[in-house]
């Protein structure tokens, strides 16, 4: 495993961990959603990195789709909290 992967994996794992803590802690629903939003961005990036690591181009599609769905998911929750659904 090359060095930059290691660094990236450490950072990304820590980032996900911190995001997860916020997700659990809240305290408001909005805080949790922000955490979720951030985590979904992190995961999108991680998926792209994974594609690189495994050298499979098709995984990039996964990152793209995950990014789109994560975005719309956050919008939906935001609108739900706005009581507009």
């Amino acid at each position: 495993m090359e060095w930059y992967y290691l660094i990236a994996i450490v950072f990304i794992s820590l980032a996900l961990l911190l995001g997860f803590i916020r997700l659990i802690k809240g305290p408001t629903a909005a805080d949790r959603v922000v955490a979720l939003d951030t985590m979904s961005i992190i995961i999108t990036a991680a998926l792209a990195l994974m594609a690189l690591y495994f050298d499979r181009y098709i995984y990039v599609d996964v990152a793209l789709i995950y990014g789109v769905l994560g975005f719309i998911g956050v919008i939906v929750v935001a609108r739900y909290l706005e009581r507009a659904l």
Binding site: D61, V62, I65, I72, I75, V76, R83, A84
Partner: protein, 247 residues
Amino acid sequence: MKKFFVIALLAILGFYLTIAFLQIPFGQNRLGQPQDEATVGAYYLNNTKEKSAVSNVVTAIVVNYRGFDTLGEVTVLFLASTGLASILYRRKEEEVERINKPSSSLLQTGSKFLFPLVVLLGIYVFIHGHLTPGGGFQGGAIIATGFLLMLIAYQKYHVSHSMLTWVESLAGVLFVSIGLWGLITGGTFLENSYFPKGVLNSLISGGAIPIIYIAVGFKVAAELTGVLDILLNTKEEKSVPSNQNEK
């Protein structure tokens, strides 16, 4: 009291599940090497490329080996949308305007910009179902998400249910007809041997599999969109005394 009881139950359940799964080591070949074909999965991996010319084995399974499941699954979705329409059915005269809580102009603009691109992505995903990790369900779901974005950004966004009906019906009919074609021509239901297989990893490959997946993509997109539309458009139609919420 009830809580403790439930937690105790879940603890026991968790214990049993854990001991069950502890014996199933993660990431190991439990049933021999793939070339032994001890599992159906191994058989698919060893044969799909030659027999079906489909790059994505999952797609081959979903559409062909277990295409019958997929037909059922499409039906489940179809029934969910039918059922939903029946559960939340209102007669015309009962139609109530949705309470308008518009989203910001920013979101509206952004959605309008992103929507066609999301739809395009969905189409890409289901057209390439046999080549990439995508497929009809995923593509359909992405398209529906695009519509969801529009539905929540513009509360008055109008989805034509007549259009949805046409799409989902024709797609469904296409799926079953392809299946029946196999039966009529003396083969089996859903048989995939009467279309040229094509070249592995090119767009035109896999016989009828991409066609079915495109049909599935349209159908899923239409159905999910219909479901989302109905759910979103029935919710806030009636104000209920809020004091009933608390005791």
